[in-house]
Symmetry: C2
Subunit: 277 residues, 2 copies
């Protein structure tokens, strides 16, 4: 692996470049991004040079798609004709089924490996990129066929992921999307719906709030731009997650004065404690 092309040099793409270098990568990192982003990415050393998409794709051993999901889908429609047969294409999109299905249709099957680093920050953009972003975080890989992981380019890529300090976890794309609908997409929508409900019902009385409201509505600050593609490409799993949550809230509502509610508090506290280990 000599040349890596990063498409979309934002927080994740920029961090991938910085982390690769910190892990000892001596090859060339080419960035494909807007002019303004490229300038900052070069300054920060997240990329070594910039190129248009077609040129970057032609010369790369690894193509790392770190764009928004909609742009990744778009790129996959056009990439195949530029790519060498030995190149691995991987991505960092937050949903996997739609991306893997699009790659299956438009890219030679063995040249694509879906991925999702479970890492992030409140701040976006390459200015916030961090060589340590992936350390001690799960890095999900969603091969369409497990044999993809046995090809040398995939093994090389996995080696670098491990050297960055991340922990690879292999999941089927649909299983990934079902899990994150509960562990990531549901918390976002629960927080957004909570903030919207409070705005309608008590928005003029926010001085009368406990400190817990700020915690539970921090995610509600997220931009819709980031979430539109996630909601569109995982809507079936998200609907099911919302239904499970609504059923749980109805159960809580119907048992406010019984022992049932104590058991929900205990299950919930155990999960919250496990998350903090």
């Amino acid at each position: 692996m000599q040349t890596v092309a990063i498409f979309g040099v934002g927080l994740i793409g920029g961090s991938f470049g910085l982390a690769l270098k910190k892990a000892g990568f001596k090859g060339t990192i080419v960035g494909v991004s807007s002019e303004a982003t490229v300038r900052v990415a070069l300054e920060r050393g997240a990329i070594d040079e910039a190129a248009p998409m077609a040129d970057a794709a032609r010369g790369a051993d690894l193509i790392y798609l770190a764009q928004p999901i909609g742009r990744i889908l778009d790129t996959l429609h056009h990439l195949d004709s530029y790519v060498n047969s030995g190149t691995l294409i991987t991505d960092a999109g937050s949903t996997k089924s739609a991306i893997v299905a699009t790659a299956r249709q438009h890219i030679g099957r063995c040249a694509f490996l879906g991925g999702h680093p479970m890492a992030g920050k409140e701040k976006r953009g390459v200015a916030a990129a961090d060589a340590e972003l992936f350390r001690d975080r799960t890095y999900v890989l969603t091969p369409d066929d497990p044999a993809e992981l046995e090809r040398q380019p995939a093994k090389d890529f996995l080696g670098w992921v491990r050297r960055m300090g991340a922990h690879p976890v292999v999941l089927a794309p649909e299983e990934h999307d079902r899990i994150v609908s509960f562990t990531s997409h549901l918390p976002q929508l629960a927080s957004t719906a909570l903030a919207a409900t409070v705005a309608e019902q008590a928005g003029d009385r926010l001085s009368v709030a406990g400190p817990g409201l700020a915690d539970t509505t921090r995610l509600a600050l997220s931009s819709f731009e980031l979430w539109r593609d996630i909601l569109a490409t995982n809507n079936v799993a998200i609907e099911q997650a919302l239904n499970a949550y609504i059923r749980k809230l109805e159960h809580v509502r119907d048992h406010l004065r019984t022992r049932e509610i104590q058991s929900e508090f205990e299950i919930a506290a155990a999960l919250a404690a496990t998350l903090r280990k």
Copy 2:
């Protein structure tokens, strides 16, 4: 106001004692609590001496009830016979309708003023007490009759609340309970129900979670002991708050791929930003 009796010298009661002294109170603070709590409260200087309930009540100009709600209700059933006619009784319970109604029935009406400092900490107990706990926080007062605030003992008490740096807000007990059902009780139950749902559906895959899950489930760490009395004494308002939240979640679920969801994100983000001002 020469002598203050604090019933229940935990985080709130202990902080009230420390804050009184810091604000310049030169009288005597008597604590009514368990032996172990009294020992720590004396060490920390939150109280000057300890006494049994009846003795403390007899000598006090101000009685500050900072026990759990159930204990406050119990105390109000027994306190009237010990209290001097000039004494003000106030409380710091998290729900107000049940407490104000009990006081109306068992205490001479003008001798009681309901209160709720909107302040707290993750840690409980007098060891975590803090003279600055009330600074820049709202302190809700819920007189059964607005004339209560015009009596001298209430004016004296309010003066000390202001000198502690808190901002008094006057609300009817039912209005207080309706507002906190949205701003405090709903966030707790939303967090508990979220954590319980994730535990059931993805509890074995917590390594595949974004950082937002930890934020939204921090409240789920709360102990049920603290919440049992709140749920029992505000269940009607909490049911309505849960219903409004469930309706909002259903609306979100039914509009995942439409512009409607963008407007919910915007309303929610505006509320979350206001909370952080």
